[in-house]
C-alpha cells in the first residue's frame, strides 16, 4: 500500500467530500470527527514520506492507471502518456504546509462557523479546497495542475462568499473568481504553447527536451504572470485585501495557504519546467529573471506594509501584511535565481544564493504558520466585538488570555523577533541578501520594523486598555477545537523558532536541492 500514498493523499479528501451529502445526515459532531480524522491521516501519510523523500532524496512517481505505477514512462517510449504524480522534497514541503494549515484551520472552524444546515456545504467545500491544494502540490502534469487550480479557486470563491448576509461578501467572492479565471486562462494559454511545441503536458518531459526558444519565453511569461496574479504579489495585489477581509477567518487562512502553494508552484515552474534542461540546450537569462522577481518582491514588501500602516480594519491590515510577507519570499528566492546560473561555475550560488533560497522557502513555511495564526485570532476578535474596525475593539486581553498570548506570539513572529520562527528565516534572508546587495537587505529590515509597529498598534488598541464588557457582542468561551487549532499553530511557531536547524536540514534544504538540482 505504501506506493499508493501519492494518490491516496489527493483522493481521500475527494471521496470524503463526495460522500458529504450522505454523511451529512449523521449529525455534525460525527461529520467533524470524520473530517478531522481524514486530515490527520493526510498529515500522517505526508510525514511517513519524510524519511524516504526528504532525508534520502528519493523521488516517488505515481503514474495513474499504468500497469506499473512507480515508473515514469512505459517501456519503448521516452515520454509519459498518462498523468504522473511526482513527490520530491519540494512538493513534499508544499504538501506538509497544506496538511498542517488545513488541519489547524478546520479545528478552528469547528468552533467558529455556526453549526447549521449550511455547515455541511462548508465542510464539503473545505475538503475539496484541501484536495485541490494537495493536487497542485503533487501533480507533474500541466493540465492536471490547471484542473486542481480551478478546484481550489472555485471552492475558495464560494467559501469567501459563505456569509452571504454580509453586504459585500458575495462581491468579494466574485472578485476572487474573476481574478482566478483570468489567471487560469493565461496559464492555459501558456500550457497550449508548450503543448504545441513538445506535444506533451508532463513538466519533467518538457524540461528534458526544452529548446529555450522565444516561444518558451512567451509561455513562461504567461505561466509566471498567472501564478503571480494568484499569489497576490504587487502589481496584481488589489484583490487581496477585499477578498481576505470579507471571508470567514478560517477561509482567509486557507486563501493564504493557497497563495503559498501557488508561489511554490511558480518557483517549481521557474526551475523544473523552464530551468536548465537536461538536454543541455540554451538557458533563460536567470539574472534578468531574478532581478524581475527581486523588484516585484521589494515592491510587494514596501507597498504592502505602507498600506497596512494606515488601515483601521484588522482583516484588511493583515491582508496587506500578507502581501508584504510575500515580498520577502520573492526577495529571497529572487536573489537565488539571480545568481543561479552565473558564469562563475555556481560559486556565487553556493556562497550565498542557496542560503537566500533556503531563507525564502523557509519563510514560506513560517509565514504559512504565523499568518494563519494571526488570521484565526482576528476571527476571534471579530466574533467578540462584532466588528472588524480597530477603533471598536478595546481590552480583549482581560477576557481572552489564550487569544492574547497566541496573538502576541504571531505578532512577534511576523516582526522577526527571536526566538520565534520569523526571526530565523528573516535572518537567513538578511544575511544572504546583504552579500548580494546591501541596499535590499536594509529595505527588508526597515519593512520588518514597520511590520512590528503596525502589529503593536493592533495589540495596544484591541488587547490593552480598560475592560469594556459592553462592547462584547458574543462572550461565549472558545470551544475545544478552536483552542486546539490555535495552540497547535503557536506550538509549531515556537518549536520551529527554537530548533530551526532540524527543520532546515530535514525539510527545507532538501527541498531547495530538489528544486535547483545543485547540492
Amino acid at each position: 500500500m505504501t506506493n499508493h500514498i501519492p494518490v491516496l493523499i489527493i483522493t481521500l479528501p475527494l471521496i470524503a467530500a463526495f460522500l458529504q451529502p450522505v454523511t451529512g445526515f449523521a449529525g455534525f459532531k460525527l461529520r467533524n470527527l470524520v473530517i478531522i480524522t481524514i486530515l490527520l491521516v493526510l498529515n500522517g501519510l505526508l510525514f511517513m514520506l519524510v524519511p524516504d523523500v526528504a532525508l534520502q532524496g528519493k523521488t516517488i512517481y505515481y503514474t495513474m492507471g499504468a500497469s506499473d505505477p512507480s515508473q515514469f514512462t512505459q517501456p519503448g517510449i521516452s515520454f509519459p502518456v498518462r498523468i504522473v504524480l511526482k513527490i520530491d522534497s519540494f512538493s513534499l514541503f508544499t504538501g506538509i504546509i497544506v496538511g498542517v494549515v488545513t488541519l489547524t484551520t478546520f479545528l478552528f472552524s469547528t468552533g467558529t462557523v455556526k453549526e447549521d444546515k449550511r455547515k455541511s456545504y462548508f465542510s464539503t467545500l473545505f475538503l475539496l479546497f484541501t484536495a485541490g491544494l494537495m493536487g497542485m502540490s503533487f501533480t507533474n502534469d500541466l493540465f492536471n495542475f490547471f484542473v486542481f487550480l480551478e478546484i481550489s479557486s472555485i471552492s475558495g470563491a464560494a467559501l469567501v462568499a459563505y456569509r452571504t448576509y454580509r453586504k459585500h461578501a458575495p462581491y468579494a467572492g466574485y472578485k476572487y473568481i474573476l481574478i482566478s479565471t483570468i489567471a487560469t486562462t493565461f496559464f492555459l494559454f501558456g500550457v497550449g504553447i508548450c503543448y504545441a511545441q513538445y506535444g506533451s503536458f508532463n513538466i519533467q518531459y518538457i524540461n528534458s527536451v526544452l529548446a529555450h526558444s522565444y516561444l518558451d519565453k512567451v509561455a513562461m511569461l504567461f505561466i509566471i504572470v498567472a501564478m503571480a496574479m494568484k499569489a497576490g504579489s504587487v502589481p496584481m495585489h488589489m484583490w487581496v485585501p477585499d477578498t481576505y477581509a470579507e471571508a470567514p477567518a478560517s477561509i482567509s487562512a486557507m486563501l493564504k495557504a493557497s497563495g503559498m502553494v501557488t508561489l511554490c508552484a511558480m518557483f517549481r515552474f521557474t526551475f523544473s519546467l523552464f530551468g536548465p534542461s537536461s538536454s543541455g540546450a540554451g538557458k533563460i537569462n536567470y539574472e534578468t529573471l531574478g532581478w524581475i522577481v527581486i523588484v516585484l518582491g521589494v515592491l510587494s514588501m514596501f507597498i504592502g506594509v505602507t498600506m497596512a500602516l494606515i488601515q483601521h480594519d484588522v482583516r484588511r491590515l493583515m491582508a496587506f501584511h500578507a502581501v508584504s510577507q510575500t515580498g520577502y519570499m520573492l526577495l529571497g528566492v529572487g536573489v537565488g535565481i539571480a545568481v543561479f546560473a552565473k558564469g562563475d561555475g555556481g560559486a556565487a550560488f553556493k556562497a550565498f544564493g542557496k542560503m537566500a533560497m533556503v531563507g525564502g522557502i523557509f519563510h514560506i513555511m513560517n509565514n504559512a504558520f504565523y499568518k494563519n495564526l494571526l488570521f484565526l485570532t482576528s476571527g476571534v476578535m471579530e466574533r467578540r466585538f462584532g466588528t472588524r474596525n480597530l477603533n471598536g475593539m478595546i481590552g480583549l486581553g482581560h477576557r481572552d488570555t489564550l487569544t492574547t498570548v497566541v496573538f502576541m506570539i504571531g505578532a512577534l513572529a511576523i516582526a522577526g523577533i527571536p526566538p520565534f520562527n520569523g526571526f530565523d528565516s528573516k535572518l537567513l534572508i538578511y544575511e544572504s541578501v546583504y552579500k548580494f546587495s546591501p541596499v535590499l537587505a536594509i529595505i527588508a529590515m526597515f519593512v520588518s520594523v514597520m511590520t512590528l509597529a503596525s502589529f503593536m498598534k493592533v495589540f495596544y488598541s484591541s488587547f490593552m486598555g480598560p475592560r469594556r464588557d459592553d462592547l462584547i457582542v458574543e462572550g461565549a468561551p472558545l470551544t475545544k477545537g478552536t483552542k486546539a487549532g490555535l495552540i497547535i499553530l503557536a506550538a509549531l511557531i515556537i518549536l520551529t523558532g527554537l530548533f530551526p536547524g532540524i527543520i532546515v536540514d530535514g525539510i527545507i534544504e532538501p527541498a531547495v536541492t530538489a528544486l535547483t538540482q545543485i547540492r
Binding site: 454580509r166 453586504k167 458575495p170 492555459l188 494559454f189 503543448y195
Partner: protein
C-alpha cells in the same frame, strides 16, 4: 499561409476579452468577457489539433486502416474538460452576481466600490 489567421483570431479574442474585463463595469458583462476568453483558449487548442484531410479519432465505421489519418485526440479531451470548467465558473459567477444584486441593488462595480466594515 492563410491559416495563420486562426491564431490571429485566437489572440484577438483573448485581447478583446481582457480589454472588456478592464473597461466593462457590469458584473454580467464581465462574465461574458471571461466566456470569450475561454472560447479563445478552446479555439487555440482545437487549432493545434487540426490535421488536413483527417477524420475524427473514432474507429466505428471509419475508413480502412491503411489510408486512415486522424486529428489529434488529446486537445479535444482537454477542451472537453475546459468547457465543463468554464460552465462551472460561469454558473458560480452568475449566482454571485445575483446575490450581489440582491444585497446591494446594483450590478455596477463603480457603485460597489469600497468594501468597508458596515456592521
Amino acid at each position: 499561409m492563410l491559416s495563420i489567421f486562426l491564431y490571429v483570431t485566437v489572440v484577438s479574442l483573448l485581447i478583446l476579452s481582457i480589454t472588456s474585463v478592464i473597461y466593462k463595469r457590469n458584473l454580467i458583462k464581465l462574465v461574458i468577457a471571461l466566456n470569450i476568453a475561454e472560447s479563445s483558449v478552446n479555439l487555440f487548442f482545437i487549432t493545434l489539433a487540426y490535421r488536413p484531410d483527417s477524420t475524427a479519432p473514432i474507429f466505428t465505421l471509419a475508413p480502412a486502416l491503411q489510408e486512415l489519418r486522424m486529428v489529434l485526440p488529446s486537445p479535444q479531451a482537454l477542451i472537453l474538460t475546459n468547457i465543463v470548467i468554464g460552465f462551472a465558473t460561469t454558473a458560480l459567477m452568475l449566482v454571485l452576481a445575483v446575490i450581489t444584486y440582491k444585497n446591494n441593488g446594483t450590478l455596477d462595480i463603480r457603485k460597489l466600490k469600497g468594501v468597508e466594515d458596515h456592521d
